[in-house]
Assembly symmetry: C3
Homo-oligomer: 304 residues x 3
């Protein structure tokens, strides 16, 4: 499936309007429970390229707080239960796209992707994740497209933890590992002690606490912060030395630098790398359009 | 008119794109002074179904506070007078749609629908209410469509007050009473003492403080909270027993449950009813699209 | 160029859909770092009239704080560097339109239009200003169209400072002066002492502290507040007598009143003038559509 979607995305990148009528008369509701820039724009563009009508709505914590707990007595601050909201959205749209970050405090709810699954359960129509608690699949598809565009045979791909000042979700890291392994890439994951990702996503990867060793001979280095998974949602240490710089790549002359953006410059990754010839971050961002377009096209063909 | 709009809405429900060119080259501005989910989505969808271009804008209290008072010296927090804003919107759009909740503190302004009428007065183009201080007509039209779909001859319709934790406007209750009576339904309104609605909307209904009696033999039970009208905008008592549950409906085996959503589950209405076979709340929500479409189509035919 | 754009705008005002296919398949991203009503609506409408797909996004201080400083170590509250965000937007759109008000505290950054130029530098596509720190060109073009519609030969145009309760940017005043002079109008600027505009925009205008004298024989009076430029961003005095009223216009019987809106009624300008026959503020607001349309059409023809 990944290969098919990558091929479809590359086809749309060549010819964005190849299927300009595929989504005619179909509506996608893009629901943001959290902020978004790239995802917000690229999903709308992908939908428009396919002739769909996108309608974007923010349902953030202040404006429209959703109740998630089944059986809740709703006498506090939530104004609508997700099962009611999702069901309504299911009658209004042909496809739903949802962004719902994890709490980073309720591990059980987060790891089961409770919010996303509530939407899937009650909407009754195809639901696309625009980043959930555990995964960011359209980002990872865009990342795989970017790697594919370099046409390397079994590239060495390194996912390295990077410092950050906030507790950051695991979704991008989880998804990247899952897709890189799924695409058959040679994946190494490097992070300080205590920052092991959920093993469900990393089976088959080489995992190390030694960043320098991991980077040797890398073709692609994906830089990303995440908070602790074991000591859930916590920042265990800042490890400023893990911020990737050119000097770390002495043994990886071919390495291209990837990041999903937004990036904290000179905290996660140095200016010199982001502004230099190794950076592929803009290419990744552009590929977000065609990743979304490939997935939406697949869904449109499915629902007919 | 109600019957004509209901028929038109049912026609569009069968064939949403029957008049896909009727609104070509026409623009609707959807202006939200308050939050919205269903109304926001359904109005846009209705407009798109008719080929109109919808543009949605939030003008909420923080971002763009409107001055309402005539002759005001605007040296405090309001940034623009409604007469200027409405006139500009009137030059930008062919149709305006406005959501403007009541203050629940300035009774005189609320009952005269001051804000809505300022928009009507200064916009100089057709203005559709997306819920004003006194009425929520597109909701009520959707409710009437829902009742009509059950094809009962002179159904017994009960509007029952329900508990809530906040002071809630009267618009949905007023409109529902007005439209149910206008459609010739047999309407009973039940509420605790002190919660009488404005008599202007309830002429012809049976009004009682006895919920149990009111529910006997009901075909449709519309559950809704509202604050006191006489002791304006106040919560006089919480009356938890008025929360509708299955046990209240022993004498109403046919009763369908209606609510405009969003609903405070297990405060206004029990989970068992909302999730059970009596609930028609999703049908109502879906009909919001076709209610809006029928009204917009009527306006488009009018303005040519 | 001004004359060509004015002519083009007047042409589109007569026939808004004259070039309904010119922008087919082209996207404009409208990015608001600050609130907007007229600009938000008129830019979208202009784009739609030309067949473009507008996508609107707010990137305000809370939701998506942009880092502006080159080389910043982003370990505080900014979430993305403008160079990354602008570059991404440059890959997503064919044209960008940006609203970015000045800080009114960092004069050096403001006068060099630092934020706008960062977008221009990194987006790599045409960028339209929807009001920057120093200029509001689409407003001024709309103003020039409005003056042109009166068909006066070398009209006497007066830009008069008006009171306000907040520190207001110079962009509208700067742009108006620049465009009025560029169009060859006879421009007089009146303001209290200490409120001199940046001389770069006012070369060729008559400048006075005597409002009464300035208004004599005026054909157009543009009323606008701005904060001090020398004592940067400060309110030096409130000067309530500078609020324009009918009595000020005894020696200007032909004078039409202009203002970019939103206007603080009875602070900047009296109700009697805004609601009287001299007011042209609604005409200006309407012309915002055609100003934007003329500029976008020019850009679309340029980029092919």
């Amino acid at each position: 499936m990944a290969q098919k979607l990558i091929a479809s995305a590359l086809h749309y990148k060549q010819n964005p309007h190849a299927d300009a009528l595929l989504g005619k008369g179909k509506r996608i509701g893009c629901i943001f429970l959290n902020p978004s820039l790239r995802t917000r724009a690229s999903t709308q563009i992908a939908a428009l390229n396919l002739g769909m009508e996108p309608i974007v709505m923010n349902m953030d914590k202040e404006g429209w707080a959703l109740e998630m707990r089944s059986g809740a007595v709703m006498n506090t601050n939530t104004v609508e239960h997700i099962k009611d909201a999702a069901a309504v959205l299911g009658t209004y749209f042909d496809v739903l796209a949802i962004r719902a970050f994890p709490s980073l405090t309720q591990k059980e709810e987060d790891v089961t992707d409770f919010v996303l699954h509530q939407f899937i359960r009650y909407a009754g129509i195809p639901v696309v994740s625009l980043e959930s608690a555990t995964r960011h699949p359209l980002q990872s598809l865009a990342d795989m497209i970017t790697i594919q565009e370099h046409a390397l045979k079994k590239p060495k791909v390194v996912l390295t933890w990077a410092p950050h000042i906030k507790a950051i979700p695991h979704a991008v890291a989880n998804s990247f590992a899952e897709w890189a392994l799924g695409c058959g890439h040679d994946l190494t994951i490097a992070h300080p002690e205590g920052y092991a990702l959920d093993a469900a996503f990393t089976q088959g990867a080489t995992i190390t606490h030694n960043q320098a060793e991991a980077l040797e001979g890398a073709d692609f280095v994906y830089v990303k912060n995440w908070s602790s998974f074991n000591d859930y949602g916590k920042i265990l240490g800042s490890y400023p030395d893990w911020m990737l710089r050119e000097k770390h790549l002495a043994q990886a002359p071919q390495a291209k630098i990837m990041h999903c953006l937004p990036v904290r410059r000179n905290v996660e990754l140095s200016d010199e790398l982001l502004d230099g010839p190794r950076a592929r971050v803009q290419q990744q961002a552009e590929n977000r359009i065609y990743a979304a377009q490939a997935v939406l096209a697949e869904i449109l063909r499915e629902i007919g």
